[in-house]
């Protein structure tokens, strides 16, 4: 379970940086549902790295993952670091 702060910050980033619709972004929404293509996922990996200070490889975020999944990935990295 990711902490709510990470999920909230990630959600804000998806709306402010990527222009995702606020109504559609939720923890359970997948990136495919949010219309993120392969290049958007690479950019998300880069932006997440900058925002959260953790290393995220472009292969690690896939279209079938949910926003919650990525928040958990970030949290796992933050704890490990």
């Amino acid at each position: 379970m990711s902490n709510n702060d990470t999920l909230n910050r990630l959600t804000t980033l998806l709306v402010s940086h990527f222009g995702a619709s606020e109504q559609r972004v939720s923890g359970t929404a997948t990136f495919e549902e949010l219309d993120f293509d392969s290049l958007a996922l690479v950019e998300l990996a880069m932006v997440a790295q900058k925002e959260f200070g953790v290393e995220v490889d472009e292969q690690e975020i896939t279209p079938d993952q949910s926003v919650q999944d990525v928040a958990e990935l970030i949290d796992a990295r933050t704890v490990a670091a």
Partner: protein
């Protein structure tokens, strides 16, 4: 501010040439499993120019070079540099033929291959020649017919690249004049050579003793890591050159980024926090024209009145190699021909 009378290279002419044949996304969709919507959403490209059989890189380079010389008010130059990855032949270089066809036989001329960063590398090379006193007026041409190395069945690369040429004339002047180029930031990373590559055609394949695999004569690209490297390298290089120039990001009136793909441009601009309206763009009409990209977008924006004299312009590029480079210029009052 005190005047800076150090010798510098000053932009005094610009010219471009595109082959006349337009290939739209719908044209591509008739031959490949793709669509206008798919190409536009991933690249921002609507159409590109493609050479007809019988045309080569030198033909485009001569047309652009002649227009740049005319824009500079005619006269001779004492060096010709052609930035290209698609020369007319593996040997000799293309620049001597281009120079001769421009009436410049006898003038030193050579090619420079730094792929999509080739034009910025060539500008830096020309500046070096001028500042060192080796040359006083240089014609720099970026020309590529990259469609000649594409796999016609690869919908990704066929959608991205187009053919074209752009050229500038640099003259000896002083660092405080509008149009003075520099400083520069240049860099490379050969550990990622495989990300953008034409495997065959060079000594690695010819010296291998192995039969030629026809698939290896075409360009290959690994899109996701290229995207990440392009955005990271161009953002970092642009930031470095701004620091060297003593400019803040707010000082940048126009941002001319290598026209690789609209998504890369947008991501670089967001990273640098350059407002969208300051980013010049023509990738929608010409695609990625490799070494021709920077002079084409500068000339297009100047012709449209989007870049005007006095504008402080940040230029950055990135390509196979990997290689990247950035510079700055205060746009001079030049005849656009």
């Amino acid at each position: 501010m005190t005047a800076d009378h150090r010798r510098a290279a000053v932009l005094c002419g610009i010219g471009t040439w595109l082959p006349p044949r337009v290939v739209t996304n719908d044209d591509l969709a008739q031959q490949l499993d793709t669509s206008d919507e798919w190409i536009r959403s991933r690249t921002g490209i609507r159409e590109r120019r493609v050479i007809d059989p019988g045309t080569s890189t030198s033909d485009l380079a001569v047309e652009a070079g002649a227009r740049a010389l005319k824009s500079a008010g005619g006269g001779n130059v004492d060096l010709v540099i052609v930035a290209t990855t698609t020369p007319d032949h593996p040997c000799p270089s293309t620049a001597p033929e281009v120079a001769s066809r421009l009436g410049l036989t006898g003038v030193p001329a050579f090619d420079l291959n730094a792929v999509c960063a080739g034009f910025v590398y060539s500008l830096a090379t020309a500046v070096g020649h001028i500042v060192a006193g080796i040359a006083s007026r240089v014609l720099v041409i970026g020309a590529d017919t990259f469609t000649t190395v594409l796999n016609p069945h690869d919908r990704t690369t066929v959608a991205i690249f187009g053919d074209g040429a752009g050229a500038v004339v640099l003259r000896a002047g002083t660092a405080d004049e509008p149009g003075a180029l520099g400083p520069f930031d240049l860099g490379s990373d050969g550990t990622n050579a495989e990300l953008l590559i034409v495997p065959a055609g060079g000594s690695r394949q010819r010296g291998s003793g192995q039969p030629l695999d026809p698939a290896d004569v075409h360009f290959r690209m690994d899109g996701q890591p290229v995207f990440r490297n392009a955005v990271t390298r161009m953002s970092e290089s642009a930031a470095k050159v701004l620091a060297q120039a003593g400019w803040r990001i707010e000082d940048v009136d126009r941002f001319a980024c290598h026209q690789a793909n609209a998504r890369i441009l947008t991501a670089v601009a967001r990273t640098l926090e350059v407002p969208e309206e300051r980013v010049v763009m023509n990738v929608d009409r010409v695609g990625n024209t490799v070494a021709a990209s920077i002079p084409l977008v500068l000339a297009d924006a100047a012709a449209a009145g989007d870049i005007v004299p006095g504008h402080r312009v940040l230029i950055t590029s990135f390509g196979a190699g990997l290689g990247w480079g950035s510079t700055v210029i205060t746009w001079p009052d030049i005849d656009l021909g």
